[in-house]
Amino acid sequence: MSFFNTYGERLIDAIQIHLFYVLSSVFIGFVIALILGIILSRIPRYANIIMPLLSIFQTIPGIVFIGVLFLYLGMIPATVIIALAVYAIFPVLKNTYTGLMDVKPEYIEAAKGCGMSPIQTLLEVELPLATPSIITGLRMSTIYTVSWSVLAAMIGLGGLGEFIYIGIASNNNALILLGAIPAALMAIVLSLLIDGLRRLIVPKGLRSLK
């Protein structure tokens, strides 16, 4: 029990910080990705060049990216959040883009024929039809970000990664687990929440199609 007495408070702090990193970076990444995905879906010809370029970017290891940002921005939370947000973008972007591109042309033609403006078509037909795909992207981003947030500790910015790093450095398995288990639980809980969200916002008429 003394273990928890020693680390209990720090654990709660760490979870809060970790969660803050995850939520803020996923939120920022999601908004950017959604907008970018919509823009790219309007210009599929360019998207075919841009998407692969972005996916190359995705392969840069997170450690490298955080390290480089650290050099420019210093040890502030923004460094972590920006880095994580950048990584959170891609899954959402990819799913938004494919989700929008997969909307059957007949719906778009019908919308046009009904006198819907391009914006109305996007908001009332295309985006609702793409929501299942977009939410899948959001779920992926969130789960990835929970694990990437561990890297924050690398530049001394806390989160659950702190326990893991200290644990590894001091060869203390209990400490490693103290960081790893809450992180895993966080990923599970967040993905369950997103599943709940999916039920809430995926249009009812689409559910029977799945």
Partner: protein, 373 residues
């Protein structure tokens, strides 16, 4: 009124519309028909500006549509497509209300319109309004597709092969309904199809197109009587033989009341039977019930003897049809032979029935003027 003036459209080097000029009068049901690639759909889509012509002008009620905002233009023109395109994320009520909502009708007004329209096609508002398209059958979905086009009571409705993907029975029901709706609502309807039967059934005027040009623009009667080209004649023939009558088989027209005897029956018994039933021939069966042929009264006279069995007379082998054979082929056989009927056989060569010339006449009358019974 819709007026096309020298409308041209090219994709690359392919001419899609070649100097097209014609008028459609208000309230007319006009069907555009022709082989694929003839430009009928392009013509249709240029009316609501889904396609913009390269040259020429299109006027609706005297106004050049290229000067009208396309979004506003389309709200005054109903549009029905073959793939139906009901929005799966919206209920039936929301789908029907799409255009009225854009035109800022009040919610209660939209509901009222939806209810009225649904009643016109015998779909109850209570049962269906809150369902999603995926819960409806194809035919029901396309009914809603048509209603969606009518919801804001546009003076013009465009239909791009709306019934092309439906099964024949549903198609003919919807065709009837659209004729009824047209009579009731007096809209100008421009309808694209490649099915000549559909065109003949629905149109006030048929525009037959080929290679981006109008080959003939005429009423169905006129086109039937004086098709302007071999292609049109061909189209009419193909569709008249390919349509509903194509599913009918010999079994649908045969009479199952006929007189057959085994070979061992005596000739006297047979002549008595013929006299009693006022018939001049009998179907002869082998002992295993398979068909052997027919014997006519003339053959019996020629045989000369009234003793012995009917099997002594070589039966005349009449023309036969299989029970599952296309009715038209059976008719052709009957038409070609001197005999008064075709014998229809089961797959095991037993006798199923006969098709007589009277039966054929009734069947033809049915297809021409509807069910006579």
């Amino acid at each position: 009124m819709i007026r096309f003036e020298n409308v041209r459209k090219k994709y690359g080097d392919t001419v899609i519309l070649d100097n097209l000029s014609f008028n459609i009068e208000p309230g007319e049901f006009v069907v555009l028909i022709g082989p694929s690639g003839c430009g009928k759909t392009t013509t249709l889509k240029s009316i609501n500006r889904l396609i913009t012509p390269d040259q020429g002008k299109i006027f609706i009620d005297g106004q050049d549509i290229s000067e009208v905002n396309p979004v506003k233009l389309r709200r005054k023109i109903g549009y029905v497509i073959q793939q139906i395109g009901l929005f799966p994320n919206m209920t039936i009520e929301q789908n029907i209300g799409i255009v009225p909502k854009r035109l800022k009708y009040s919610k209660s007004k939209i509901k009222e319109i939806t209810r009225e329209l649904m009643e016109m096609v015998d779909m109850s508002f209570e049962d269906y309004a809150h369902k999603y398209p995926s819960e409806l059958s194809g035919g029901q979905q396309q009914r809603i597709g048509v209603l969606r086009a009518l919801a804001a009571s546009p003076p013009i409705v465009l239909m791009d092969e709306p019934f092309g993907a439906l099964d024949p029975l549903t198609r003919s029901t919807l065709q009837d309904e659209i004729v009824k709706l047209h009579k009731k609502l007096k809209k100008t309807i421009v309808f694209v199809t490649h099915d000549m039967n559909e065109a003949l059934d629905l149109a006030d005027k048929i525009i037959f197109m080929e290679k981006g040009e109008i080959v003939q623009m005429a009423t169905p009667d006129e086109m039937l009587a004086h098709p302007a080209s071999a292609l049109i004649r061909d189209f009419m023939r193909k569709s008249s033989s390919s349509a509903d009558s194509s599913d009918l088989t010999a079994a649908d027209f045969m009479k199952t009341k006929f007189f057959s005897v085994y070979k061992k029956r005596s000739i006297r018994e047979c002549t008595d039977l013929m006299a009693r039933q006022h018939i001049d021939s009998l179907l002869i069966k082998n002992d295993d019930n398979t068909y052997a042929g027919i014997v006519t009264i003339r053959a019996i006279k020629k045989h000369g003897k009234s003793s012995g069995s009917i099997g002594d007379i070589t039966p005349h082998v009449n023309i036969t049809s299989n029970i599952s054979e296309n009715a038209k082929e059976s008719f052709d056989k009957l038409y070609a032979t001197d005999d008064n009927y075709v014998v229809v056989l089961e797959d095991d060569n037993t006798i199923a029935g006969i098709i007589t010339k009277t039966g054929m006449a009734t069947a033809m009358a049915d297809t021409l003027w509807g069910d006579m019974q």
